[in-house]
């Protein structure tokens, strides 16, 4: 088992069976399911406290309708946090270093925000393409630029996560030798 620096980024296979699904779902096992007790044990209490804190921070600036996003955003945040933190341990595989997974997360969410905006408030969402206070001759050029940035956004999001995690893990490896 001679490990090079990049072995930790290969998707795990065991006898030809891809284990990627297991490695994505494993962090969920670490969190106790919230049961219907009112006074829970310490782990559940701490988890509930953390979730409450994160949800409140996310949802306070939003009005009532924005609270629909609370579940998916909070669960996404907790999942990514756990996956990335667990990847710091030795001999672990971080699923988010795979570009495929990050693009799979980024594309649908970005598209969802775009389509929701276009559906509910089409004029406002199209109006976002033009920043306020631009001088009149620059308007056509600016609209092209904003559209391009909008369309590139999922690529940017996906690649950003991948690059950050890969660089971090690689750095740990380099420093530890």
């Amino acid at each position: 088992m001679n490990l090079s620096f990049f072995d930790q980024f290969t998707s795990p296979y065991l006898l030809g069976i891809p284990l990627i699904l297991l490695s994505v779902l494993f962090p969920t096992l670490l969190f106790p399911t919230p049961n219907n007790r009112w006074v829970t044990n310490r782990l559940s209490t701490l988890q509930l406290w953390l979730l409450n804190l994160i949800t409140k921070q996310l949802m306070i600036p939003l009005n009532k309708k924005g609270h629909k996003w609370a579940l998916i955003l909070t669960s996404l945040m907790i999942l990514l946090l756990t996956i990335n933190l667990l990847g710091l341990l030795p001999y672990t595989f971080t699923p988010t270093t795979q570009l495929s997974m990050n693009m799979a997360l980024a594309f649908p969410l970005w598209l969802a925000t775009l389509l929701t905006g276009l559906r509910n408030q089409p004029t406002t969402s199209l109006g976002h393409l033009l920043p306020e206070g631009t001088p009149t001759p620059l308007i056509p050029a600016l609209i092209m630029i904003e559209t391009a940035s909008l369309l590139i956004r999922p690529l940017a999001l996906g690649v950003r996560l991948t690059a950050n995690l890969t660089a971090g893990h690689l750095l740990i490896q380099l420093i530890s030798t």
Binding site: M1, N2, L3, L29, L30, P32, T33, N35, N36, R37, W38, V39, T40, N41, R42, L43, T45, L46, W49, L88, L89, P90, Y91, I172, Q173, S176, T177
Partner: protein, 228 residues
């Protein structure tokens, strides 16, 4: 972590009341290996059994190069030491924090109940006081009744007095009238008698009376001289 605390198919599944949480979690040695493992090996190998097993396994893996020492070993050692240091130092604080969160939740609910009880108790005391006040009202009404009776009595006496005074005034007037009338009659009679007497004195009689008076005076003067 997993819901293995339910008795497996021995009784009807009951959702409430929930069984109470055990006081302490399962006993572990070195934070990883449950105590039951040591107890399991104790009859055959005694106290040092699990330790020998662990050491043997480790040396086997190392010597046969099933586990290769590479850079990740160093990383593992560093990370493990940091984690253990962190847990040892802050573990009790985190546990106390979790306990405090639970305590606050329970205390909030209990305070609602206690405040409700206190409010009801003060309401009961005030009600009792009001009942005592109502009992005292009887005396109040009695005294008021007495007061009113006295006022009526006084008023009656006053009016009686007024009546008496009025009647007396009328009668006094009648008496005074009669007295006046009699007086007047008397005076009139006296005057009439005097007038008549004065008229009836003729000059003849006047002379005779004067001469008689002079004789009397002379006689008196003689006797008076004699006394001196």
């Amino acid at each position: 972590v997993l819901h293995t605390t339910r008795a497996l198919h021995t009784a009807q599944q009951r959702l409430a009341p929930l069984p109470p949480l055990p006081e302490k979690g399962g006993e572990v040695r070195y934070g990883l290996i449950p105590e039951e493992f040591f107890q399991f090996l104790y009859p055959k190998t005694g106290v040092t059994g699990p330790y020998m097993l662990g050491t043997g396994l480790l040396l086997y893996f190392l010597s046969k190069e099933i586990y290769v020492i590479n850079h990740e070993t160093v990383a593992a050692a560093c990370i493990l030491s940091v984690i253990i240091y962190g847990i040892k130092k802050y573990g009790s604080d985190v546990a106390a924090f979790a306990d405090k969160l639970n305590e606050e939740k329970v205390a909030k609910a209990l305070s609602v109940k206690n405040e409700a009880i206190k409010d009801l108790e003060t309401a009961i005391e005030q009600e009792k006081k009001e009942q005592w006040r109502v009992e005292g009202c009887k005396y109040l009404f009695d005294s008021k009744r007495n007061n009113v009776a006295m006022l009526l009595e006084t008023n009656y006496r006053e009016r009686l007095l007024t009546v008496y005074n009025e009647v007396k005034k009328r009668l006094d007037y009648q008496v005074a009238m009669q007295n006046l009338k009699r007086q007047k009659e008397q005076d009139h009679m006296i005057q009439w008698v005097e007038r008549n007497v004065a008229q009836s004195i003729t000059p003849q009689q006047q002379k005779e009376s004067i001469a008689k008076c002079i004789l009397d005076l002379k006689a008196l003067s003689k006797t008076a001289q004699a006394a001196v």
